[in-house]
């Protein structure tokens, strides 16, 4: 499992410097925002679902630490093309992995790189914030 140093070296800084899908969408079907009042991190997420209910396009914006930015960036690439249920399964596995519960790590793919963060509980919330925003954006739409 990667140490904090290794996670920074191999993953976090690269995505912090050049985050993927760092943009607002022109015609999002779903949107949510999240904020961590303890550290001031903010993330705003846009999704566009196609007629089949797949995530066709995703964009995020915000400010925060490199961990939160890298996690949001990798989340956007991981959920692209997924159905809402598939994206929620990723949420559950990612969340379980970082909170020390039994997780289906196979489906996580590259997201497994965050596994080492589980031993730094103070930073876990940085990595899960974007995912909570994703869940909120999709959950809100399902009710409507």
């Amino acid at each position: 499992m990667a140490t904090m140093d290794e996670m920074y070296q191999t993953l976090i800084i690269e995505h912090d410097r050049s985050p993927r899908n760092f943009k607002a969408l022109e015609a999002p079907t779903h949107h949510a925002e999240g904020r961590n009042p303890l550290c001031g991190d903010e993330v705003s997420l846009d999704l566009r679902l196609d007629a089949d209910g797949r995530i066709a396009e995703v964009g995020f914006q915000g400010q925060g630490c490199a961990v939160s930015k890298a996690s949001a960036s990798m989340m956007t690439t991981a959920i692209q093309g997924k159905t809402v249920d598939e994206a929620m399964a990723l949420f559950d596995s990612f969340h379980a992995m970082l909170t020390g519960k039994t997780a289906d790590k196979e489906i996580l793919g590259k997201l497994k790189a965050f596994e080492g963060l589980a031993v730094y509980p103070m930073r876990v919330k940085c990595a899960t914030m974007a995912w909570h925003v994703l869940k909120e954006s999709l959950g809100a739409s399902r009710e409507s």
């Binding site: 904090m4 920074y8 912090d16 400010q63 961990v67 940085c126």
Partner: protein, 398 residues
């Protein structure tokens, strides 16, 4: 290695497998062995509740608890022991004053004058009792604008609530001068001394303020215990803060009357072990060569500024002329939480975030900062390790 450091057992431990480099004394100080022994000794040897039993242990606990008022009164320059109220900490002390002193005086639109550098604990309690806040501005150097203070004190606030030392910048505010100014305008003064009392002696017989509060855990004592000092005539005129045992005179279902201060403000079984630990902490600190500790703090601060200036892209938030050992900064391209995580992997403990001073961070246009704060056990080696860690951050974030 200073002899002071040897009295703190925690420094024989490692953090993340590295020697402990503790630079977060602004959040909480480490505890000398005598403080740990005092709390342990009470629980192991003579634990009992106070003000209740006539048996030996209860008597002894009562004597130790109430006797600590004498220790604190002397520590604060020789004030009256019955002006010492034990609370959970600085936060509870301020809430107590807000509810018992300010609230009964509140009128629509009444203001409390604070400063831009206040900790949230010296902001929220006043808002909760309905006060409108006005804030004395902070200059680019991280100091209070005293001309503005003079003008704003003339605008009729009910109270001036000001920190003695900024928890974020380390600025030592000119409290005696502010108190004299406030007195000319007839404004009472509360001082948040949480960051001050561990760094330099405070004499409340000459400072000219009305309320002063601090926490035990920032003074090498336990968490969950603190002190509110208030002028006797003010405390005597204030209604209780919380109701319960130990604060009463006589209780009936029709009405109850209350004990005199300070007991009136100490409802319920207090943190007895904490107060005993606080007594040990104050005795320990008072026995130190305090001018020497102040000189050491100043020397390390100068050395720290010099070392950190060599780190490319590092910016200090402000650099006050008079301050305690605190270095607060940002780094280009690296968020404070990432700085703190990378330092953590080197065993270096610092604080990252807004340090409960969001308005001050807004004033300086940054959402968060990194803070290294010193204690009497801090060494030049700690600062070298910090600097090496920050150069690694620089290397990673390029």
């Amino acid at each position: 290695m200073s002899s002071v450091r040897a009295e703190f057992p925690i420094f024989s431990r490692t953090s993340r497998g590295k020697p402990l480099t503790y630079l977060d004394s602004g959040a909480t100080t480490q505890k000398p062995q005598v403080v740990i022994d005092a709390e342990l000794g009470f629980y192991e040897g003579w634990n009992a509740n106070i003000h209740r039993g006539v048996y030996e242990f209860s008597e002894r606990a009562t004597m130790a608890y109430d006797g600590t008022r004498d220790t604190v009164a002397e520590f604060l320059g020789g004030v009256r022991a019955d002006e010492i109220v034990f609370v959970r900490g600085t936060t509870e002390a301020i809430n107590l004053v807000a509810h018992s002193y300010l609230k009964p005086k509140m009128t629509p639109g009444a203001t409390v004058l604070v400063t831009e550098m206040e900790h949230h604990a010296n902001i929220i309690p006043w808002q909760l009792v309905g006060a409108t806040l006005k804030a004395i501005p902070v200059t680019d150097a991280g100091e209070l604008d005293l001309q503005a203070a003079e003008r704003m004190l003339g605008e009729g606030p009910l109270l001036l609530a000001v920190t003695h030392v900024s928890n974020t910048l380390g600025t030592i505010n000119p409290i005696a001068e502010l108190a004299a100014m406030a007195k000319r305008h007839g404004v009472p003064v509360l001082v948040d001394g949480a960051q001050a009392v561990g760094h330099f002696p405070v004499d409340l017989t000459t400072l000219g303020v009305d309320f002063y509060c601090f926490s035990g855990h920032k003074l090498f004592g336990p968490t969950g215990v603190g002190v509110l000092w208030g002028r006797h005539e003010l405390l005597e005129a204030m209604p209780p803060f919380q109701g319960g045992g130990d604060m009463i005179d006589r209780v009936t279902f029709e009405r109850s009357t209350f004990a005199a201060s300070p007991q009136r403000f100490e409802a319920g079984t207090p943190n007895i072990a904490g107060v005993i630990g606080l007594d040990a902490a104050i005795r320990w600190l008072s026995a130190q060569d305090r001018p020497a500790l102040e000189r050491l703090d100043a020397e390390l601060l100068a050395a720290g500024y010099e070392m950190l200036e060599q780190v490319p892209g590092l910016r200090f938030i402000a650099r006050p002329a008079s301050q305690v050992g605190v270095l607060t900064f940002t780094m280009d391209g690296a968020h404070p939480h990432d700085i703190a995580s990378i330092l953590d992997s080197e065993g270096v403990c610092i604080r990252a975030g807004h340090h409960c001073t969001q308005p001050l961070h807004a004033r300086f246009g940054v959402p968060a900062s990194a803070r290294a704060s010193f204690g009497p056990y801090t060494t030049e080696q700690d600062l070298l390790t910090l600097t090496r860690g920050l150069l690694k951050v620089r290397e990673l974030f390029g």
